[in-house]
């Protein structure tokens, strides 16, 4: 994981600041940094989004492909996640340096997103037991400045919102051989309902308090953090503790409550923003990567 070296004096300064609900960059403990979202940035994916959070930048692309359903759930489609920690983000990722982090991130993403409560997986089924849509979610870390989980989760939600799956029809001839027919109209496509897709809120325990959206410096002062995925209703669907230190039950409870609050508050403006962007249609000026 990308880390920075922080001196003792700096640590004390950060710790004391957080104790007084005042962070180095002037935020409160439950405030996010400035966030920018743009969808449909990669034209050859079926859905994509780019999110910058402070200096953290991630790009998510969703590709839909036809595959075979998992034997246990023949009438559901599924997700595949892959997180690519490019050496652009930080030199530590060079070579195989980012592999461990990538695996850790994608494992968490499986837990959070690949279940029927987040997306209606049944709608991804084409014909039970034979064909289903597999959504390949590729995450590319462009820059690391702390709080990767939250940025990734927001980007995934935005990318899924943006995803347009081509509509297919199953035609069967008299011998019962099924043939998949693709609609030749590029506008004829299926959208996903992303209302219940959770967002991840990472809470960092710094001293006796916890902060949301920790920067790398704050992260360096923290011994442990809690990852909580929260839906728009405030339901916690997944929690995970990361970091070497320990958390006492009291503060876990506190942090969960804070996470619910923050997460709930995050969803509403996000959805509003996405719908606003969608409504612009083709008239929208694309920013892309150079803007």
């Amino acid at each position: 994981m990308a880390t920075v070296q922080v001196s003792e004096a700096e640590k004390v300064y950060i710790l004391h600041g957080i104790r007084d609900d005042l962070r180095v960059d002037g935020r409160g403990c439950e405030d996010y940094r400035h966030m920018e979202i743009e969808t449909d940035v990669v034209s050859n994916t079926d859905g994509s989004a780019k999110v910058t959070l402070g200096h953290t930048a991630v790009l998510v692309g969703v590709k839909a492909d036809i595959g075979k359903p998992r034997p246990m759930v023949p009438n559901e489609g599924y997700f595949e996640f892959f997180v690519d920690c490019s050496a652009n983000a930080t030199p530590e990722f060079e070579g195989r340096g980012g592999e461990e982090l990538g695996t850790e991130l994608s494992n968490t993403l499986y837990k959070v997103f690949n279940n029927k409560h987040s997306v209606d997986l049944k709608s991804l089924c084409i014909s039970a037991g034979e064909h289903c849509w597999v959504l390949y979610v590729d995450v590319l870390l462009l820059q690391c400045d702390g709080n990767l989980y939250d940025a990734i989760s927001v980007a995934i939600k935005a990318a899924l919102f943006n995803t347009k799956i081509p509509r297919v029809h199953i035609s069967a001839d008299e011998e019962g051989v099924k043939e998949i027919e693709l609609s030749d109209d590029p506008y004829d496509c299926m959208r996903l309902n992303v209302e219940n897709v959770p967002c991840i809120v990472t809470l960092c325990k710094v001293g006796h308090r916890h902060v949301v959206d920790a920067t790398l410096q704050e992260k360096a002062c923290s011994v442990a953090s809690l990852i909580i995925s929260v839906t728009h209703k405030g339901t916690v669907t997944c929690t995970r503790k990361v970091g070497g230190g320990s958390l006492d039950p009291e503060s876990i409870f506190e942090m969960t409550e804070a996470g619910k609050r923050v997460g709930k508050a995050l969803h509403a403006p996000l959805m509003k923003l996405l719908q606003q962007e969608e409504s612009l249609g083709k008239t929208r000026q694309k920013v892309g990567f150079l803007g």
Binding site: S43, N44, T45, D46, K63, A64, D65, I66, P166, V168, S171, D173, E175, V177, E179, I180, L182, D184, D185, P186, Y187
Partner: protein
């Protein structure tokens, strides 16, 4: 401005792929009109004065056809009258997608300067590009793009036209919806038929209109004649599940109710399925790719050996009863034992229609504009066309294209394409046979000619430095008289060590034809030079074939030499290949060379060289025959052509001299040496030639025929066959041996080119050589050019290029060469047949002796050795009761009344030209001896035509 085009496609593995293409729009695409002052174009295509006499559009105008008009009415568009047409990129792309041949023709038209066709890239024009809208189908989008472009043009021309000559654009579409929308947006729009019919000056164009869908309803008769074809999706599913098989449809030449479908199996394996009866043939046309369903085994039939011709003029849709009778006759004749897998056509996978040559059968109803067209190729059904110029077209050879074959029509519907000229005229007939055999015979294009060396041409010092100087050798060439494309020359001299040095020098065509340029591609496509009687269709431009490459005497020429050192027993001690410069000392004919050898008084270098070659050739030939090479026979005919009228005045079979075989031996030797060399160097991509051993069943007819004369033929190996042919003699029948050899030739397989990496069997059966190729005639065969290139690379005299080493590409090339080679042979034969007819036309009736070559169910095939001519004597007649015929397949013998015909029987026939069917003029033979009452005719001094019933075939 950048746009992106997005579409989704299904991949082969069943996945779905989203493809995004970048699409750039520009504002520097000009309109191409002479009128326009606004566009900064360097040259214009469309004329200012775009007038055509039309009673719909009296003003000058440009025509914009939509995709369907181009696809269906390409024949009309090709007419020189139609000019100033704007072809939109949208249309061009759609056409390309839907029909490759039409696309090529369209491209040719655009390049034709006289046509004033302008291709407007509207898809890249900033103002005419449109994006597909939600809910719009791809076709609708393209229609809209065409309308938008037409709109743009009419606006553009209006603004730029200063002197107000009222130039307009006219959109042609056959789509009602599109037309309506275009009218709403204020465009001038007509249906294609409307527009063409309005062209007052050129009424004949109407004939070329293809029948569109609504026209076809006119012909609807209540009766549905054919079963419906299955849709493609079901055919594909059926093929996948094994219910249907896919194959190429091959109609029978002799029987219009019978066809076979050739199914390419895995690897070498392939099967044939028999199709019998109109219903089962189900509107398939020769060469179509069809889906076939096999019938249950108890319905299998045997191929009939009846010769049956469709008498279409006499009977039309309402006379099926007779047809049914004919079909029944087919069934009954099926022998139980000889049944073959039989099936029926259930659907067409790919039509392979091309324009067909043939003649019109004028309808008996005087006012009728609908006529039947009879193609020259008997495997093609008659085609119904609509024309108002029937009276002028009668007696002409014309080309007709098929438009469709509805299920309620006995014949396919088509339209007139063009006239080739009067039937029976030499030029017309030549054109017909070139077209029918798919021989590319247009003049060489400018692009091809641009790759010719500049004249005057000399050998440069650089060439000289890289080549061996063999100018001092006594090289000479020996060819048939009148040969201008001399591609081989020979020399032989004694070395100081007592051995002989023999050289074969082949024209270095690959020096002039460089890989990949237009000339090379043209030559590769043509594949071979085609020799017709009195005409040669060159593979390479004449400057090369008759001058620069031709190894004429007393000029310096580039050559590729194969030089052996041999001892006096013709054993090869050393072989080497080199690029060289030679100076031939003499170009001789076979006869001249023979005379020099025989003339003991002559003792110059050339004669000595020839004698040396001749001596070695004899030894080589003996060795080859000992190894089991076959000497087969086929009669080749030579015409003496009148120098002024170019009509044949005499005809003789070709004679072979010792010198023929001398040249041949050394060519064989060179070919074998080169084959070995290139195969050693390039085991994967050598271009070789093989001659597969025929399957034993091929020999059945030969064995039976020989047996009937008490002679036994062994066919186990080539050697056994050659030996038994050598000893096969019958007393008092000197011609027997030749006849046997002619028959044996017919049992053989075709020799073919192939790429060594794609095959494992290299054996050349006829020459009894384990490996063989063609090296010695690069002027007239493309395979030799490839072999030259390979050999040049092998001896490091030239560089290689990727396609040469690509075995897939080589293999595809070999297939084309094989096809062209086969077609050129057919064309050659057809040309000989035509000249034979001309000859007999001038000769009237002749009585000749001949031999029965084959026995058929209702006919015998007779060979006249004097003319090398084969003809059929029929014993049954359509409109009168024929004699009693008993056919025995075992013999095979045919019993006519009292007389029994066997193979090799000597008969006497009268030969005359039957011109009753001008399309298929043919030599007709009738029997004189043996005399069979009611069958044979008296030896005629009289005109026999009047006495015999018309035998049409």
């Amino acid at each position: 401005m950048l746009k992106s085009k997005t579409f989704v496609r299904k991949t082969r593995s069943g996945g779905v792929m989203k493809i995004v293409r970048e699409h750039y729009l520009r504002d520097d695409i000009w309109c191409g009109s002479e009128v326009c002052a606004e566009c900064k174009q360097e040259s214009t295509v469309l004329q200012r004065d775009a007038c055509i006499e039309s009673n719909l559009c009296s003003y000058p105008h440009y025509v914009i056809p939509d995709t369907n008009v181009v696809l269906h009415q390409i024949d009309v568009l090709e007419d020189p009258v139609i000019r100033n047409v704007i072809i939109l990129q949208t249309v061009l792309q759609e056409v390309r997608h839907r029909s490759a041949p039409v696309y090529k023709r369209l491209k040719d038209m655009i390049h034709e300067k006289e046509k004033f066709f302008y291709a407007f890239t509207n898809e890249h024009h900033r103002e005419t590009f449109i994006e597909r809208e939600p809910g719009e189908s791809a076709n609708d989008r393209n229609d809209r793009a065409i309308r938008v472009a037409a709109q743009w043009y009419s606006q553009h021309l209006k603004t730029s036209e200063s002197d107000a000559d009222g130039l307009k654009v006219v959109l042609l579409t056959n789509d009602q919806g599109n037309k309506q929308k275009a009218e709403e947006s204020g465009l001038l729009v007509y249906k294609c038929e409307e527009y063409i019919k309005s062209l007052i000056g050129n009424p004949e164009l109407v004939d070329r209109l293809a029948l569109s869908n609504d026209d076809k309803h006119d012909i609807t008769s209540s009766k549905v004649l054919f079963p419906e074809h299955l849709p493609l999706s079901r055919i594909q599913a059926g093929i996948k599940s094994g219910a249907f098989v896919q194959g190429t449809f091959r109609a029978s030449r002799d029987n219009y109710l019978e066809a076979t479908v050739f199914v390419q199996g895995d690897g070498e394996e392939s099967t044939e399925i028999l199709i019998q009866g109109l219903q089962n043939l189900n509107r398939a046309v020769y060469q179509d790719v069809v889906a076939v369903q096999l019938l249950p085994q108890n319905q299998w039939v045997a191929p009939s050996s009846v010769v049956l011709q469709d008498e279409g003029a006499a009977k039309d849709d309402n006379e099926e009863e007779k047809e049914e009778d004919e079909e029944k006759a087919l069934r009954i004749s099926a022998a139980e034992a000889a049944r073959k897998p039989t099936g029926k056509v259930v659907g067409i996978i790919k039509r392979n229609w091309r324009p067909f040559c043939g003649m019109l059968n004028i309808s008996q109803i005087k006012e009728s504009t609908r006529h039947l067209f009879t193609p020259a190729d008997r495997r093609i059904p008659r085609i119904r066309i609509e024309t108002r110029q029937a009276s002028t077209l009668a007696g002409q050879r014309i080309m007709v294209a098929i438009d469709g074959w509805p299920k309620h029509s006995r014949y396919p519907n088509g339209h007139f394409v063009r006239s080739l000229g009067n039937a029976g005229e030499k030029d017309t007939e030549q054109e017909v046979l070139l077209l029918e055999h798919d021989v590319p015979h247009q003049d060489f294009s400018q692009a091809v000619l641009s790759f010719l060396p500049k004249m005057p041409w000399t050998i440069t010092p650089e060439d000289m430095a890289r080549r061996e100087d063999l100018r001092n050798l006594t090289v000479c060439s020996v060819d048939p008289p009148g040969c201008t494309d001399i591609d081989d020359a020979l020399h032989c001299r004694e070395l100081n060590n007592g051995n002989l040095e023999v050289g074969v020098h082949i024209a270095d065509v690959s020096h002039f034809i460089r890989p990949g340029n237009a000339m090379d591609r043209e030559a590769a496509n043509r594949g071979t030079t085609v020799y017709l009687c009195g005409k040669r269709i060159d593979m390479v431009p004449e400057l090369l074939s008759s001058n620069l490459c031709s190894l004429r005497s007393n000029v310096e020429r580039l050559a590729f030499s194969c030089i052996w050192e041999m001892n006096h027993e013709a054993e090869i001690l050393k072989t080497r290949f080199t690029k060289s410069v030679i100076n031939s000392k003499a170009s001789l004919t076979y006869a001249e060379a023979q005379m020099r050898i025989d003339d003991t008084t002559k003792n110059d270098d050339i004669t000595k060289s020839l004698r040396g070659l001749n001596k070695l050739a004899k030894i080589l030939k003996r060795q080859r025959i000992q190894k089991g090479a076959l000497t087969l026979s086929s009669l080749e005919v030579r015409f003496h052509i009148d120098s002024e009228t170019h009509d044949p005045i005499d005809l003789q079979t070709k004679e072979l001299m010792e010198t023929n075989s001398m040249v041949e031996e050394f060519m064989l030797l060179a070919n074998i040496s080169v084959a070995q060399k290139i195969y050693d160097e390039f085991p994967d991509c050598a271009m070789l030639r093989k001659h597969p051993a025929p399957p034993p069943s091929n020999y059945d007819i030969l064995l039976k025929a020989a047996k009937s004369k008490g002679v036994e033929i062994h066919t186990d190996t080539a050697k056994a066959l050659a030996d038994s042919l050598d000893v096969a003699r019958v007393d008092g029948f000197p011609y027997f041996n030749t006849l046997l050899r002619i028959l044996a030739t017919r049992c053989m397989m075709q020799a073919v080119y192939f790429c060594s990496g794609m095959d494992s069997d290299f054996h050349h059966y006829g020459l009894a050589s384990p490996i063989y190729t063609h090296f010695t005639s690069p002027i007239r065969r493309y395979a030799d050019i490839i072999v030259h290139r390979l050999l040049a690379v092998a001896i490091a005299a030239d560089s290689t290029y990727p396609d040469l080493m690509d075995k897939q590409k080589q293999s595809a090339l070999a297939n084309n060469l094989n096809y062209r080679h086969k077609m050129s042979q057919y064309a050659q034969r057809a040309s000989v047949a035509f000249h034979t007819q001309l000859f007999f036309k001038s000769r009237g009736i002749l009585n000749e002796e001949g031999f029965v070559l084959f026995v058929r169910k209702n006919a015998i095939i007779v060979l006249i050795p004097k003319f090398g001519l084969e003809g059929t004597v029929f014993f049954d007649a359509k409109d009168k009761a024929g004699p009693k015929l008993v056919f025995d397949e075992e013999g095979p013998t045919l019993n006519v009344e009292q007389h029994t015909f066997r193979i090799f029987d000597k008969v006497k026939v009268t030969i005359s030209l039957d011109a009753s069917n001008i399309q298929h003029q043919k030599i007709r033979m009738s029997l004189i001896d043996p005399v069979i009452p009611g069958v044979s005719v008296p030896a005629p001094e009289v005109e026999p035509q009047a006495k015999k019933p018309k035998l049409d075939h």
